[in-house]
Amino acid sequence: MVAPLIDFQHVTFKYHAQAEATLHDISFQIYPGEKVLIAGASGSGKTTLLRLLNGLIPQAYAGDITGKLELNGKNIIDQTLFDLSLQAGTVLQDSDAQFVGLTVAEDVAFALENDHQPVDKIKSKVAKWASRFGLGERLDLAPQMLSGGQKQRTAMAGVLVDDGKLLLFDEPLASLDPAAGNVAMTMINRLQVERDLTVVIIEHRIEEVLRADVDRIIVMADGKIVANDTPTTIIQSGILPENGLDEPLFVQLLRKANVDVATLANVADVNSVDVQAYKQVIEDLKTPVIKQVKKNKKLVIKDLVFNYDDKHPIFNGLSTAIYQGEILGIVGKNGSGKTTLSHLLTGFLTPESGDILLDGQSLLSQSIKERADNIGYVLQNPNHMITKSTVYDEVASGLVLREVDAQEIETRTRKVLKLVDLDSMRHWPISALSFGQKKRLTIAAVLVLDPQVLILDEPTAGQDATHTSELLNFLKEINKTANTTIIIITHDMHLLANFVSRALVIVDGTLLADTTPSELLANATLVEAASLRTTSIYQLASRLNIDQPEMLNAAIVHHSTTI
């Protein structure tokens, strides 16, 4: 038998600041040439495990380690970060930190420069890798001028210029639009075959990773490995939902149709799973799509014109209306202007011409603070919103500023903290939170203010299924009881398909479509133009020749958001 590339035996790890261990008795092997997905709820220890693999623990994060950790048959702890980096390339989650060069070319060249290689050799290698990643034209661009997807590709090229055989990815898809995510996964696949790489991916978007044929899934929960097997076996065993993770949507559909998933062959792959026999039961699930009709215009956007600079116009006369009490999704490819639009609504940016009306009143003369009394906004990057040093203070601060009385602050804050599952950590300093936990914290800090209109930029980035559905249920509830208007900007196709009642598609600053998510996902040309991808339900439907797949989707919607 081949020797394992990675071999962990009974590894336990405790961060310096933690009272309890974060990883408990972890044992697993990864063999050369494998592609392994590590999945697990937010805060379950995935990133921590990755840090053990690339040596950041213990070299950058202090703590207590016990057990045996080997890479290529050698103890990881005894090696320097430099030695390890020649064997394993890491792409970190934060692409702005990963991108250290002043330009694309310099960033791709970075590792080679550090090895003190001759400049002409570096140049030819950079040219080769940049053109393979479609960056050939952009070698001179600064990171500020690239889209999320381009930064991601630069990061990959910068790691691949090394000849290391192991690649580690921490949530590579988190900020990519679905099409760019697909391109990234395809790229990883191709490289793996060509260069015989071993790939370890941490990701919450399981459906999208599974499309790229992973060999194995390791499921983590509370710092332990709870399953380690092929995707088929994992899905058959139903262990993903038990651990708060999302199964691919078509599997959810099959379960809904009472198909015996546990014995179904190839159940992890929507293109080869054997479901012909179940066509009828699946078709019977069809549920009519309920079209909500809302009448009162809450926000009206009139002929909005906005540019950052003369060369790249963003909005050139955008008009639309957002209705009271609706749940609106805004989708579109990376760099289309979605975040820009929310900045215009909240007053972070001022339009060149046009108008924005809230309940018939123009917002343009109001200050940011005045608008914020009605419109709550959760930014894409949680670090930009956090001001206090502890979890509790962060959520309470908005109420303190509004001079709410102390007793009420306490009850409201605790209530929201429970809702986002951070109450037990309320006294923790924010620096000890994982990415997903920080994101939930910022959502809580806005929710506690009870805004009439709520704008959430990528609320589910870095979240697992349980936390997502708890959050969505709560949003649904305030939408029903308080008639809160909710606007969600997202790349998450599950969220789009299952939660949103109306979708605006914005591509390069123009409103490409204003429709229901089901119709949007059923329309192949629109899906492509918006850089989206259909969900696996649509693929399953097309394999089975079931028309109106949106009605199948509707069957799931019910299932996944009202538990």
Partner: protein, 274 residues
Amino acid sequence: MNNLFGYKQRDTWLNRATGTAKLIGFLTLTTIGMISYDTRFLIVLSLLSVLLMKTAKIQYQEYALMLKFVLFFAIINLVMITILAPQYGVRLYGTNHVLFGSGYWTITEEQLFYEFNLLIKYFFSLPLAIILLFTTNPSEFAAGLNKIGVPYKIAYAFAITLRYIPDVQSDYRTISLAQQARGYEISKKASILARSRGAVQIIMPLVFTSLNRIDTISQAMELRRFGREKQRSWYQEQVFSRLDILIIVGSIIVGFLGITLLFVNNGRLYNPFK
């Protein structure tokens, strides 16, 4: 490309020269200009720098703001000197040619001449700096610094500064806006105290994000072996051409001229009053 300093691709010989040569030229000329108080030399140096700037095809609008800042700075300083030390020129040059006024407010030729020298000094380096900043690709600075003997780790620290200034700026903007949306009023409507408190609320997250950045960026760099070798190569390193040698030799000649004048004048001052 990174546009903090107004670097643009221009088709001139100064653009084609390497960053290293321009850096050496800049440092030599500004150092000698800083030391020398020989008015004739300073005037020639100023004319030379303005001439060079003309050949670099830099438009007035591009540096108008800088010019205004220097003008403001110069005026404030000259006014302060006139008020606080009206007899300083007399002390420096050792003679006393009264023009008008009396007592403390006696204005002398020496004082005016001294202030004229200062004025040239405030201005002479501006064109040189503009050339350096506007014609050098920022990516070349780090490589250039390393080449003239600055240890590569320090040169790279400088590159990181250039790389992250735009990010820090946009962080600052976003944080400021997000805090206003949370309820901090920092517009002119609020009281001074409220505004100060608001400003502190922006600085805190900026500080913490930046400290976090230090952690993650140093991890990203170590994972790609920064600091492993005694030396590192630079993608942006340019090979010296004859032009570069010429620039360096030229500025060294000017430097020598300045030094020679120090001996001729028996010191840094050129004294027309004796």
